[in-house]
Amino acid sequence: MPEVLVTVHLFASLREAAGTGRIRLRLPEATPVGAVWGHLPEPVRTRSDPPDGMRYALNHEWTLPGAPLRDGDEVALVLPVSGG
């Protein structure tokens, strides 16, 4: 099965758990961005499912969980926000 290499951007507690703000993952081609969580390494994925209110960005634009990943994509896991 063909694979794609993507960069995953991590923030807040995910970034701390990973020890880095970006990791690279090899994923099956056309994996939807919403499935990236399940492919995170165990020490990073501190819970089985993404938290309620999780959003996703693809190449620094908002996207939907169903968007398929292509080779070279930069996907961001945008945890529920708390700015302000």
Partner: protein
């Protein structure tokens, strides 16, 4: 004007950026770190932004408010460590009249808090730290309301609360 800043926010700069000679009313909002969170003393907050997207989102919010209310906006958010009492976010909105200026400012801060990809880590006076990001807070925004931290209630894994991090 929209900005992320690792140094203290300057309200006068925002007011100047939002000023328009045709606008008679200008409203600002300043959000500051309180010295207590859920009745526990706080030492400092740390803000982390997804910078590329946060700047776009702040710009989108400013443009939405401008279109809806005929307003001119300036929005800035601190990043990094913000000691208790210092502003973490500031919005300035001017409009021809005061109802629109109030509405535009309120719209921008409400949308910013709901949408901008920026996260807050609370560092308590006892050195314990926690992110408000839906993973470490038991209930988003109401982290310690039902009990002391680390008691293992609810979905919060013990490991997600870090103790004794050096300042």
């Amino acid at each position: 004007m929209v900005a992320l800043s690792s140094i203290p926010l300057d309200l006068a700069t925002l007011v100047q950026a939002a000023t328009d000679p045709e606008h008679g009313g200008l409203v600002t909002f300043i959000g500051s770190t309180r010295r207590e969170s859920d009745r526990r003393p706080v030492r400092t907050l740390v803000y982390e932004a997804y910078e590329e997207l946060a700047l776009r989102e702040l710009q989108a919010i400013a443009e939405e408010a401008a279109a809806r209310f005929g307003a001119r906006l300036a929005v800035a958010h601190r990043t990094g460590r913000v000691p208790v009492g210092e502003p973490s976010v500031a919005v300035a909105a001017s409009a021809p009249g005061r109802p629109e200026a109030f509405a535009a400012c309120r719209y921008a801060i409400d949308e910013l808090k709901a949408r901008a990809p920026i996260w807050k880590q609370t560092e308590f006076a006892d050195g314990q730290t926690t992110w408000l990001d839906g993973c470490q807070d038991r209930e988003h925004g109401h982290w310690a309301e039902e009990g002391a931290p680390g008691e293992g209630q609810g979905p919060l894994p013990r490991a997600s609360v870090r103790g004794g991090r050096p300042a």
